[in-house]
């Protein structure tokens, strides 16, 4: 079993898809010689050439839109938007074009486009390179949204995103690129819309995405030492959402914490809380707790950044609130 970093796992999925299928190509800013601002696409230019590993001008609207047009003509483009914050520049193309073509055409058009993007706090990139915006896209009918948290997941999910016939927003987290995991020799596609139970538990379910999956696992281990048994579930695909797995888990544990790095208010966790309270109402023993960033642009100074975004201790505190305990009680 080879061990891959999250970064290598993304690259592996791209390379395998491009080897297998001439219709797959990638484009984005600085992705060729430089290998992307995060080094994800390093080496792909050498293997696949400049025709299929396309450096682009700094033109998010045109990059995403060209991906849409190529996809409508039967290609399977993978477009990289360097930072999540920059998806805002391409918002019109993503929301009005990619997401709506199929419906507006009465089902004539397919847009098999994958838009990879990354971001996140934890290294002081400042307010315009750190925001988590996945919730914005979950609100748009016609888009699928993926947020992978481990190397195996990111590889299997990216493969499925590329081969999905719909536009997929594919979120990666900046601070996860270096984490490693053993993966199978063969790439095993992970179907979109399937949650992963990372850790089974009896007392509380933590539903977490992205970096917070790892924070939740750390919190769960700490809680375990205090005899609180925590289940950690990662939806992995935010749209479509594997509601069944989330609700079943909470029906079992009777308590729920939702956790993500994006701001709590109006966040993805609000929707998850609504889904869980409806599906598991009769089972709930405590109010659903939400963990997320404070309602602020991400500041630069490390102490302020750390204060704004959530960490494992925030998840742990929320876990303890659901069981009516304080830390150390």
């Amino acid at each position: 079993m080879p061990e891959l970093s999250y970064r290598e796992a993304v690259r592996d999925a791209l390379a395998r898809a491009m080897r297998e299928d001439d219709d797959v190509f990638i484009m984005g800013e600085d992705i060729a010689e430089m290998g992307g601002s995060m080094g994800v696409t390093q080496g792909l230019l050498d293997e696949f050439g400049a025709e299929r590993v396309r450096n682009t001008p700094i033109s998010e609207m045109a990059i995403v839109g060209a991906g849409i047009g190529a996809a409508m003509q039967g290609m399977r483009p993978v477009v990289e938007v360097m930072y999540q914050d920059f998806t805002t520049i391409a918002m019109e193309q993503i929301v009005n074009q990619a997401a709506k073509h199929r419906s507006m055409s009465g089902g004539q058009v397919k847009v098999p486009l994958t838009i990879r993007t990354q971001g996140g706090a934890g290294w002081s990139p400042g307010a315009q390179h750190a925001q988590q915006v996945e919730a914005w896209f979950v609100h748009v009918p016609g888009l699928k949204v993926v947020f992978a948290s481990t190397p195996a997941d990111v590889r299997g999910l990216l493969w499925s995103a590329i081969y999905d016939d719909n536009p997929v927003m594919f979120f990666e987290h900046r601070t996860l690129y270096g984490i490693k995991e053993e993966v199978s020799e063969e790439l095993e596609p992970i179907p979109l819309g399937q949650a992963r139970i990372h850790r089974e538990g009896e007392d509380v379910t933590v539903i977490a995405t992205g970096r917070l999956v790892h924070e939740a696992i750390a919190a769960a281990e700490e809680a375990e030492a205090e005899d609180v048994s925590v289940e950690v579930v990662d939806p992995r695909t935010l749209q479509p959402l594997d509601e069944r797995t989330l609700v079943d888990s909470v029906c079992k544990t009777t308590r729920c914490v939702v956790a993500h790095e994006a701001v709590t208010r109006m966040g993805f966790g609000a929707e998850v809380a609504a889904v869980v309270q409806y599906g598991a109402f009769d089972y709930l023993d405590a109010p659903i707790e939400r963990v997320g960033a404070r309602f602020a642009p991400i500041p630069f100074a490390p102490v302020m950044e750390e204060y704004v975004v959530p960490h494992s201790n925030d998840v742990l505190a929320a876990i303890y609130r659901t069981v009516g305990r304080r830390r150390g009680e």
């Binding site: 190509f25 025709e51 299929r52 396309r54 682009t56 001008p57 033109s59 609207m61 045109a62 990059i63 995403v64 839109g65 060209a66 991906g67 849409i68 047009g69 190529a70 996809a71 409508m72 003509q73 039967g74 290609m75 483009p77 019109e92 193309q93 009005n96 074009q97 073509h101 199929r102 419906s103 507006m104 055409s105 009465g106 089902g107 004539q108 058009v109 397919k110 847009v111 098999p112 009918p141 016609g142 699928k144 016939d165 719909n166």
Partner: protein
């Protein structure tokens, strides 16, 4: 302002040489021009009928007709090869009809029927016909331009001799997607043609209030892109120019910015009181710049010939209205279909 001939062709190497009108003319046969006339007349009568039915309260939503711009739709679409593709604008009826979608299907779409070319999901501003190479009309100004670059890129990568054509208005040359798309298209030399229907108005705002330059081809020049400019009221000139532009793109020489100077002989939308426009301007333009009248004069059609064509076209348009009215209403819950593939 209209430049029908050798627009700056010798001065700037980046521009396609458009030979003078007199030399250019005469390659389109009389028979073909008659065919163009019939098509333009059909589009004109179709849109007049649409205005009438909208005012009668039969059509939902709101509508933009392109009365006065028929020569652009017909001249460009007739120059296309069968598997070339187009993307249209909010003023899409003419492009869609000229690209080959049957009038019945366009009319049924305007009535919101299942038989419509977008099966009732799109409406006037979202006419699609993928089978016939129509990638969709776009209600966001400039919204469809990047996708045309992408379609052309797909053709280039697969080595297919096809061209992707975007229609846009002069107003769209002010939006970011226009500039990003032209830049990328030229950078990658993709087989695309950007056909700008320069009618001098962005909704109610005249060129003088939205364009700091008069000659729109200068915008393409900024990207090193070939450009051409023709009299958009002269279908023969439009057709011949489009043929050259398409050939240029198809041969792998890169995209072309193709400006057709035209006139909108109506308001922005059906019912627009046009308070922003002198009352006699439209009257004057209708008398002097109607592309249908111009072609009729060029062809020297007799009253009998015209009457016969009018009857034929009226039958088609009436038939389309009957077809549309007899069409099937979608089930409300069909709204939840066709969201994901």
């Amino acid at each position: 302002m209209l430049d029908t001939g050798a627009h700056s062709s010798t001065r700037r190497s980046s521009k396609l040489v458009v030979v003078a009108k007199v030399e250019q003319k005469g390659t389109v046969s009389e028979e073909t021009l008659r065919d163009f006339f019939r098509e333009m007349l059909l589009i004109r009568r179709f849109e007049e009928k649409v205005e009438e039915r909208f005012r009668a309260g039969e059509l939902p939503g709101f509508l933009h007709v392109a009365i006065g711009q028929e020569a652009v739709a017909v001249g460009v679409c007739r120059a296309l090869a069968a598997d070339d593709v187009i993307a249209s604008t909010h003023r899409a009826h003419g492009h869609t009809l000229a690209k080959g979608t049957p009038p019945n299907e366009v009319m049924a779409e305007l009535y919101g029927k299942v038989e419509g070319c977008s099966h009732g999901y799109g409406g006037s501003m979202h006419l699609y016909d993928v089978e016939r190479g129509n990638m969709g009309a776009n209600a966001v100004v400039g919204g469809g331009l990047p996708a045309i670059v992408g379609a052309a890129l797909a053709f280039q990568m697969r080595d297919e001799p096809r061209v992707a054509v975007a229609f846009l208005g002069d107003g769209a040359t002010n939006i970011g997607t226009f500039h990003e798309s032209l830049n990328l298209a030229q950078l990658w030399r993709v087989p695309a043609v950007f056909c700008c229907e320069n009618n001098g108005w962005a909704e109610s705002t005249p060129a003088s209030q939205q364009l700091p330059i008069e000659d729109l081809t200068r915008r393409a020049e900024a990207y090193g892109m070939e450009s051409m400019q023709v009299d958009g009221q002269d279908v023969e000139a439009v057709y011949e120019g489009a043929t050259r532009a398409l050939e240029h793109a198809r041969e792998g020489k890169g995209p072309v910015f193709y400006v057709c100077n035209t006139y909108r002989l109506v308001g922005h939308y059906v019912g627009d009181p046009q308070v922003y426009r002198p009352k006699d301007e439209v009257k004057h333009l209708r008398e002097t710049q109607d592309p249908v009248t111009k072609l009729r004069e060029r062809l020297d059609l007799s009253d009998e010939e015209l009457d016969e064509l009018e009857r034929e076209v009226a039958d088609v348009v009436e038939g389309a209205v009957e077809f549309a009215k007899a069409g099937t209403d979608p089930k409300p819950e069909d709204a939840l279909k066709n969201i994901y593939a």
